[in-house]
């Protein structure tokens, strides 16, 4: 019945609920994301932020609720192509053993495509790692590894990025590197992204809109200023 309404938004989340053994982790989450929006999912640790982003990537199955992608029921999209379209970057890089280039080629080759050397170079320059193609991933610093992770996701040419605390495992210098990289990507590609973070300053630096999540509930949804100002009062 509400189906019509969702044909406009890029991502529509409706009544999304996730429970483990009857324990609610997320309850009745509703929001929409438009193409090109930069959304932060903000909230304390344990609020359900990772769960939300995993559900959007369909790494977990919701207990109830719906997600629409350009008006299409996300369950109608084969999981592999849904995940390529909504590129996920997790907190830990989890690179595959091998070289940087091996990692960049993984996504495309999983569905029968190959990256040209020029494409690999372009991806690496996008994350400021020119000349890293043949480096073994075991020799990378934390910040470098996370940037390879970003490039590996971008190799799939996603329509949007889902970033789950991409800098929270990094020291300050590496964190700045990765943030700069994310900013550059946003700027050059006008990419839609949903960034999960519990770092308020990072929200202010990277996002234009905030979804405030507390104890599995979406308690606020608005511009960075509105939501964060209201929150600093209480």
């Amino acid at each position: 019945m509400t189906r019509q309404k969702h044909h406009n938004a890029f991502i529509s989340v409706e009544g999304l609920t996730y429970a483990i053994d009857g324990q609610p982790i997320l309850s009745d989450i509703c929001f929409e994301v438009q193409v090109g929006e930069r959304v932060a999912v903000f909230g304390p640790s344990g609020a359900g932020k990772s769960t939300l982003i995993r559900l959007i990537n369909r790494l977990d199955e919701p207990t109830a609720g719906m997600i629409w992608l350009n008006g299409e029921d996300y369950r109608q999209i084969p999981p592999g192509s849904l995940r390529r379209r909504l590129g996920m970057v997790m907190q830990a890089p989890n690179l595959f053993p091998g070289t940087v280039a091996d990692n960049l080629c993984f996504g495309p080759s999983a569905h029968g495509e190959t990256l040209t050397e020029a494409e690999i170079r372009a991806l690496l320059s996008g994350v400021d790692l020119v000349g890293y193609e043949n480096r073994n991933v075991s020799s990378l610093s934390g910040g470098e590894a996370q940037r390879v992770n970003l490039a590996r996701t971008l190799a799939n040419k996603p329509e949007a990025l889902l970033l789950d605390e991409p800098t929270s495992a990094l020291d300050q210098a590496a964190k700045n590197e990765v943030e700069e990289t994310i900013k550059a990507i946003i700027k050059s590609q006008n990419m839609t992204f949903i960034l999960v973070t519990h770092d308020r300053a990072q929200v202010e630096r990277l996002a234009e809109r905030v979804l405030l999540l507390e104890a599995g509930q979406l308690v606020a949804d608005g511009s960075v200023k509105e939501v964060l100002d209201a929150r600093s009062v209480d």
């Binding site: 790494l59 390529r84 590129g87 997790m90 830990a92």
Partner: protein, 264 residues
């Protein structure tokens, strides 16, 4: 020496077992003095060992007098028992019993049938049952090793597996390196066994044939047939099992279900 006093073969066997038991108890007493804390375990194992194998001996006496077709239910019982023993060694895998049963049945069933039809196993219960039991036992061990290794590979690589899924790879693609490792780890003891065949260790089938007075050269060939067939059985079993296992570890929607030791 015992044979001079006892002429009934079964009683002779019992007396020989008694002598062995006395020797074993001597070892128990010695280890008890060393305070290894193994006393109870050894006593239970010795008791169970003698009980089970003698019971099987009597059972076989009865079975061997039946029709050839009794081999089918007997081997089926072995496969069920083997599957139950497998899942005792494998934690946290849903439907492990069913997977083991199907895997072992396919491997052992196929090899025993083909070998019997081709006459490699004589079409007599006295061949089919003992050799069949070796196939089932080998398949059971290999399968348990494979399942346990697979489980630990998956639970210790959750991050990489989910990273692969998130990059749009299929469950088969992301799991491939871990399946390979599980299979090769499981088959390694078997392969090593083949390589060391006859060096130090004269395995059961050959030992039995030599003990009962058959030509040792023929016994050698036959032992290779048995060991090679155990390898084939084990290989088929794990290849089938791993496909079934993979379908338990991922959901229909290509989500990793087996994520931590505590799950399930």
């Amino acid at each position: 020496m015992l044979a001079r006093w006892i002429d009934n073969q079964v009683w002779l066997g019992a007396a020989q077992a008694g002598v062995t038991m006395v020797a074993a108890l001597l070892v128990v007493w010695l280890t008890g003095r060393l305070k290894l804390g193994l006393k109870k375990e050894i006593l239970i194992s010795l008791g169970r060992g003698v009980g089970q194998i003698v019971l099987v001996g009597f059972l076989l006496t009865v079975i061997f007098s039946a029709d050839l077709w009794i081999a089918v239910p007997v081997i089926l019982v072995m496969i069920v028992a083997g599957s139950v023993m497998t899942i005792r060694r494998v934690r946290n895998i849903p439907h492990a019993l069913r997977i083991s049963f199907i895997g072992i049945s396919a491997g052992a069933g196929l090899v025993i049938t083909v070998m019997t039809l081709m006459g490699v196993i004589e079409q007599e219960l006295t061949s089919i049952i003992p050799i069949g039991s070796m196939m089932v036992y080998g398949a059971m061990n290999t399968n348990a090793l494979m399942m346990e290794r697979f489980r630990s590979e998956v639970t210790s690589h959750v991050g990489q597996i989910e990273a692969g899924l998130a990059l749009g790879a299929s469950p088969e693609q992301v799991i491939r390196p871990y399946s390979r490792r599980a299979i090769s780890a499981a088959l390694t003891p078997n392969i090593n066994g083949l390589r060391s065949l006859g060096i130090v260790w004269i395995p059961g089938a050959m030992a039995g044939m030599v003990l009962s007075g058959q030509n040792p050269a023929y016994a050698g060939f036959y032992q290779f047939v048995v060991s090679g067939s155990i390898f084939v059985t084990a290989g088929i079993t794990v290849l089938i099992s791993i496909v079934l296992l993979r379908s338990q570890v991922f959901s229909q929607a290509e989500q990793l279900l087996l994520r931590s030791e505590a799950d399930n």
